[in-house]
């Protein structure tokens, strides 16, 4: 699964004026679906609102396909041409573990920044 490519993007220049956007498509999709079942367009909007990252349609469906293969998300019956997805219990476990690791990392990183 693609997970570490372009972990942070959006900082076009190195002066730090622009906020960096978190970009780990599968994790973003899992986090979005943790808030309830959604179809592709709703996921894109939700993720953009959550962290400022707007996933491209190809990236989004690449993540959906891989997450579905891993059985971390599952499709629901289609609504016209749109198909909602929901997170599975296994997906929830993975999301919880990944977010806990990120939280630990963020706390450690911020702790090191404090004295500076």
């Amino acid at each position: 699964m693609r997970s570490t490519r372009n972990v942070v993007n959006g900082a076009r220049n190195g002066d730090g004026d622009e906020p960096a956007h978190y970009s780990d498509p599968p994790l973003l999709v899992l986090a979005s679906l943790a808030g309830g079942p959604k179809h592709g367009h709703a996921m894109t909007e939700d993720i953009a609102g959550m962290c400022g990252t707007r996933l491209g349609p190809g990236t989004l469906y690449g993540a959906i396909a891989r997450l579905e293969q891993l059985a971390w998300i599952e499709p629901l019956p289609a609504e016209q041409r749109r198909r909602p997805y929901r997170i599975t219990p296994a997906g929830l476990r993975v999301l919880r573990a990944r977010l806990a690791t990120l939280q630990q990392f963020a706390q450690a990183g911020l702790g090191r920044l404090e004295p500076l």
Binding site: L60, A65, R83
Partner: protein, 165 residues
Amino acid sequence: MNPRIARRLTRLYPRAWRQRYGEEFEALLEAGPSDLRTLANSIFSAVHEHISPSQGGNMDPNPSSFRALMRRPSAWLPLSMSLSALTMVVVSLAIGLAQGGKVTRDPDEGAIAHIWQLLMTVQMPIVLFFAIKWLRRAPSQTLRVLGLQAGAWLASCAPIYLLHL
């Protein structure tokens, strides 16, 4: 996005992917903008899907099955190379028999002999790549494919050695 452009972009994806996600992907494209970023993202992802299929959804429940392995270029390419080499030998023999009535060894190896040698040797690194990549992940299925590849290779060599060509 214009539905026609959305349909064209969706068609860039592999057929199995389109059958599973095509309709909803097209609907998503139609709901979004048709800017350069979206186009580039869709094209890049389609190429990525061809190179490294996600096998998501119900496209293939078992990506390590014999059938799925046989679809890998590193599995079928050596097979088709051996079979092409065998076909070349058989056709060449048939033409020789039809013209002269007997099989003779050409002292100066012609173009067919060189192509045969090329087909038989170039497939070796491909077979090696396939074995290294898949033997650990799916041993029994990989051995079956390797058996087929070896069988085709031997079948192609057989007329050369048996008829002393």
